[in-house]
Symmetry: C2
């Protein structure tokens, strides 16, 4: 398995750990000799400073440097023998097509991992919380559509900014009050009567840190709101794909 | 930077985290725009089940499969552009010469990282605690000699077995009583009057888990005993080598 990471590095640890723990869970009760077998994994950890400072705009060609940086890392993962790649961050998926062009092995999209889970569990409406690019780009919405899932971000800019602020605090490990702040955003974005028919996608690696008691759960309830953890869904789908690969 | 890991995977997380945190510390107070710059890192995470099941004996050629498995991973790290490699585990260093033969970039030995620190701090005698191969192979002792450090493991087999037992418990996250158990081994292995002139090398990634209050410290005192954390010394030396590379 190949993991494209470093953006940021704590998410990369989270994905790697989730894949290894998925292997522990898979092998529980199975017979083997020695320590629990693990997939061979290659990780490319990029420099987030470079990626942030080379983000494009709406100008044609402005993403060329950024795209090439990610594309070369995917190429290296492929050259190292990765048969399946995951990108350990939701945000770069908005340019998945551009960066994975010509890569000869599957790059398992986070949209696909979430979409499959939603379809399997009958979830048809998703409120997406994540970084500003994740909430504003049409990519998440388009990625969910094939699975019959209507994905929307909070429509008001003030709420989007609140989410970005919560992510910033969680990145600095300020967990106190974060779950309540997320709940306030959800209740402000969704009318009370629609809440039961919807799940909230924690669409970046920091947001689940607000719910330490649900660490590692793909899908959980807190204060009557249903949350999906995109990292857990993505990483465990990647492990499952390894197992399914002949 | 290249990291050869997976043996086991929790140590790999520890090394990766230590390198990233070393970069955070290095950049504190320096000017840059955007998130803290990080070295680009490539990690090869091997399957510890394969390595354990393919360990050799004293028979000639019996390590060939094991050596080749590690050597190919080092080759892949080199091919991915690593300019410096660390192996995120002490045990494989006993065969560093065999596995790194023909690799065109430096593989920063854990012995060298510890030896330099000891030399810089005037430590001339080291009690090495680690896995059984680490404590029984002459490699650790030989690796310390060029730095004027006399490295010895507990001589009695019963004490070596105690250390292996403590590591096994820590691997299963059973931290309770581990610091006291380590101290008992140290006091049983070293006469009281020699204790002040010696440092204890926690020479595997699990052992420092017994001292959570000294997490991340390369060198610390607990109950009058001086401990060195080999992972912290090795990972921070690797980061420093990146900074020093022109």
């Amino acid at each position: 398995m190949g993991i494209l990471g470093g953006v940021g590095w704590p998410s990369t640890i989270e994905y790697y750990r989730l894949v290894c723990e998925a292997s522990l869970a898979y092998h529980r009760g199975r017979e083997f000799s020695g320590p629990t077998p693990m997939p061979e994994i290659v990780i490319e950890s990029l420099d987030m400073n470079f990626t942030i400072n080379n983000r494009g705009t709406s100008e044609p060609g402005s993403w060329d440097v950024w795209d090439a940086y990610f594309h070369r890392a995917l190429r290296r993962l492929e050259a190292s023998g990765a048969e399946l790649i995951v990108i350990a961050s939701v945000t770069p998926h908005a340019r998945l097509k551009e960066i994975s062009h010509g890569i000869g092995v599957p790059v398992l999209s986070v949209y696909e991992a979430i979409g499959r889970q939603c379809a399997a569990q009958g979830i048809e409406k998703l409120l997406v919380l994540g970084t500003l690019p994740t909430m504003t780009s049409p990519a998440f919405r388009a990625g969910m559509a094939p699975f019959g899932v209507d994905a929307v971000a909070p429509s008001r800019q003030a709420l989007k900014d609140d989410v970005a602020g919560i992510i910033g605090k969680l990145y600095r490990n300020e967990v106190e009050g974060a779950a309540e702040a997320i709940e306030r955003v959800v209740r402000a974005a969704v009318p009370e009567q629609e809440l039961a028919g919807l799940a909230v996608c924690l669409g970046c690696t920091e947001l689940p840190l607000a719910f330490p008691e649900h660490n590692g759960e793909p899908d959980f309830l807190a204060n009557g709101i249903r949350y999906l953890n995109s990292s857990v869904m993505h990483a465990t789908a990647a492990f499952q794909a390894c197992v399914d690969t002949p």
